[in-house]
Symmetry: C2
Amino acid sequence: MKTTDENQPLAGAQDADGARRSDRTRAAILRAARERFAEHGFERTTIRAVAADADIDPSMVMRYFGTKERLFDAALDIDLRLPDLTAVPLADLPELLVRHFLDRWESDPPDDGLLVLLRSAVTNERAAQRTREMFAAQVAPAVTEVLPPRAAARIGLVSAQLLGLALTRYLLRMPAVTELTKEEIVATLAPAIARTLGV
Amino acid sequence: MKTTDENQPLAGAQDADGARRSDRTRAAILRAARERFAEHGFERTTIRAVAADADIDPSMVMRYFGTKERLFDAALDIDLRLPDLTAVPLADLPELLVRHFLDRWESDPPDDGLLVLLRSAVTNERAAQRTREMFAAQVAPAVTEVLPPRAAARIGLVSAQLLGLALTRYLLRMPAVTELTKEEIVATLAPAIARTLGV
DNA sequence: CCCTGAAGTCAACAGGTGTTGGCCCACGGG
DNA sequence: CCCGTGGGCCAACACCTGTTGACTTCAGGG
């Protein structure tokens, strides 16, 4: 679902890796943008701040991405990287899900992608729609394939539980949640999700 | 925890109800502010828009609340209205919690209070702190009183699940969650929360 | 009646925003 | 050597924001 367009097929000054100069600054802008969007959301992130982080002029951001919204779209182009679920026994699914998302959220270096989406989707309709699309394109199909229909109908509430975890732990930073270790969360949330699915 | 200060003790033009003129416009401002904050969050809500909704001049908002942040604080002064939990049997607690919050969120006319808080807390540190305080002041004490210690330690994850429901249903509006009826949600989420608590 | 103080209006300021267009520099191929 | 082009910078525009202060209305008590 990558929308990154590899245009400019004409030859230009190329790096040793075959990467153009512009590709590196483009990547620098994107990295800075993801970080800012993840921490402050769409409205509070300014083009000027992103540019400063990437050590370039604000107008360069416009040159590369055209508009703040298109920069945002580019930053939202993420992949949940859900593992292949057809191989795992049904009974292991809940724990695998909880562990997978905890690992992604707490990876080091942090992979801001999901937090960008979540933080922004709450106040930005464009991001909200992206979230719904991502769910429909990546989560729903992967899960309905391996679940009995009755359980698949509850996948919405499973998402609610997982997103609620991200919300309280990483965005609201509620002590009652941040105090828990990864293992404690897995141990108590996985059974709850199993119960939600009825498996 | 009401921070509303009833100053201006001097007599003034009073209404039949004993309410000053200013009290009515103050209330109108607050109502408009809550609506805007609930729908668009802190950053996207402008003083001018609130004033327009309340049919007054923007400078009046400043006169009454001093600052946008103080208006925000006033709008955040909410009460979860948790029922007395000491009376209910432990086994009924999960269903009661789910039902209580669903009822509050879907009350008609809508009571924006909780949505203001949730929508804003994600991008506004001040609101996030308020949320943590509200949790610590209202949820934690009411629940730890009636729960065995082992279950009380998991109240954070219960909040995560309830807030996750609000997030996906009212803010992100994910079809897989909005499609469910209130009763369906109660029927599948309450057992999951019971499992989380281990009761 | 006037006159005081509260309630409300108007116009402006100062700062920050996304966005634009003109200019400059480096550099590699002719 | 020139010079065209891609990459980058600077300064400005137009707009919107929170906020302020001076002015007007208006009701009611002396």
